[in-house]
């Protein structure tokens, strides 16, 4: 008998993936013996024991995951990712106190003592960095949100966050403009339009509305600008200040 099947052919045959070699095995005693030996080995693998689970196993699995499923669970990813947050949070407190002492409705006086203005600029820089980071996260989440499969997508979290951000955005934009920081003011103005768009969206959007939001974000290239700007701000804030 010529051309005995290879061991690999036996394996494939055992798993029902090989071309028919049964005629050969039927006719060739040697191959029949080695195929049967392989069969015994592979059959014995089935004895690999899997520990039994408790009768109420399904309940336990459910109990373990239910709390973590949360309808809005993907927002759990939402968090402060960079150590910079600690500094930025403190900066917000500082700037809060700073704002409380100044009327932001009226432009701050342009002439300030050099050291005074330097501190303020750094504080502002860090706060703006934080603001950009939060804005970036909202934009990223929206851009990454898949189209709703059935019905509408709940974007109330992003909408509310955009609303919050809008307020601080106005403040920073005005401050930047007052300080003559044209680039920052321009970026914040663009960001403001997108945030406004999001804040004015319904809390549940259809696939089409989501697409429109994506387009708004993408057409302006705002995410890219925010990223670049944010990293520059972070860099210079890190270089120039230890609050």
């Amino acid at each position: 008998m010529m051309n005995h099947p290879t061991e690999e052919q036996f394996v494939l045959y055992y798993y029902g993936e090989g071309a028919g070699i049964e005629d050969h095995i039927g006719a060739c005693e040697q191959c029949r013996a080695s195929y049967q030996a392989l069969q015994r080995v592979l059959n014995s693998v089935d004895s690999f024991p899997v520990p039994e689970r408790a009768p109420d196993y399904e309940n336990r699995v459910w109990a373990a995951i239910e709390g973590r499923m949360g309808k809005r669970s993907r927002w759990l990813l939402f968090g402060w990712r960079r150590p910079m947050f600690a500094a930025a949070a403190m900066a917000l407190l500082v700037i809060g106190a700073f704002l409380a002492g100044h009327s932001w409705q009226r432009p701050a006086p342009r002439q300030m003592a050099a050291s005074d203005s330097g501190v303020r600029e750094r504080v502002l820089l860090v706060a703006v960095g934080d603001h950009l980071e939060r804005s970036e996260m909202v934009l990223v989440e929206l851009v990454n949100a898949g189209a709703p499969v059935a019905g509408r997508l709940d974007i109330s979290y992003e909408r509310n966050t955009a609303e919050d951000l809008l307020e601080s955005n106005r403040l920073y934009r005005q401050t930047a403009a007052t300080n003559g920081d044209v680039a920052t003011a321009a970026l914040l103005e663009e960001l403001e339009r997108v945030l406004l768009e999001i804040a004015h969206s319904p809390s549940e959007v259809s696939a089409r509305q989501l697409e429109e939001l994506h387009r708004q974000i993408e057409d302006r290239g705002i995410l890219f600008k925010v990223k670049i700007f944010g990293s520059q701000v972070e860099q210079s804030a890190g270089n120039s200040t230890t609050l």
Binding site: V11, Y15, E17, R40, V41, F48, P49, R68, M69, S73
Partner: protein, 196 residues
């Protein structure tokens, strides 16, 4: 079974999170079995079960009914098992030392008697079981995954290749190598005790 799966999936997609429970009820034991065979470790397998159901829930909008829900779910489970095993950095060279000294090995051996053996296996069953377990542990991650998916899960070589990102040939060769190693370890046992 499949029909009631798709009913449950549709209800979850429509916003009824509790409908997901039916899917958990139906599939958690088989996901556990798959995960245990992939990881060889009870605690890891439990992690895989929970993480698989959470991931599947979060990604349900991506599931299209082309494959059955079960197939899709087991794919998530096997990918996550593979990640877990890879992150443990269990290389075939060190697997023996690890199972001799490490906690994974001892746990697994302790857990073993609970998989009730059939009456015909009483004589040499324990030894076969132990040998299967230790040989699976000595396989490379890729060999073990491909073999488990083919042997226990009945997945086709094509399906396995696509979940592991391997060509058909590479998948086959992983399975062949796994079979060779199992054969070397088990043949003396099963062919002396099992047959007359």
């Amino acid at each position: 079974m499949e029909d009631s799966d798709s009913v449950a999936v549709a209800r979850v997609k429509a916003g009824d999170g509790d409908a997901y429970r039916a899917l958990v009820d139906r599939h958690s034991r088989s996901v556990f079995r798959l995960a245990y065979r992939m990881t060889g470790n009870e605690q890891d397998a439990e992690d895989v079960v929970q993480e698989t159901f959470l991931r599947a829930y979060k990604q349900l909008h991506r599931y299209e009914a082309r494959a059955s829900f079960g197939t899709w779910l087991y794919r998530i489970a096997s990918n996550y098992s593979l990640d877990l095993v890879r992150s443990r950095k269990r290389h075939p060279q060190t697997a023996l030392d690890e199972s001799a000294a490490g906690e994974a090995g001892t746990n697994r051996v302790d857990a073993m008697p609970s998989g009730a053996p059939g009456p015909d296996r009483l004589l040499f069953g324990d030894e076969v079981q132990r040998t299967v377990a230790s040989t699976l542990d000595q396989l490379s991650n890729q060999e073990r995954t491909a073999f488990v998916l083919r042997h226990f899960e009945g997945q086709s070589i094509e399906e396995i290749g696509s979940s592991l990102g391997l060509s058909g040939n590479a998948t086959k060769h992983s399975i062949f190598r796994a079979v060779q190693k199992l054969r070397r370890a088990l043949e003396p046992l099963v062919n002396s005790a099992g047959v007359s």
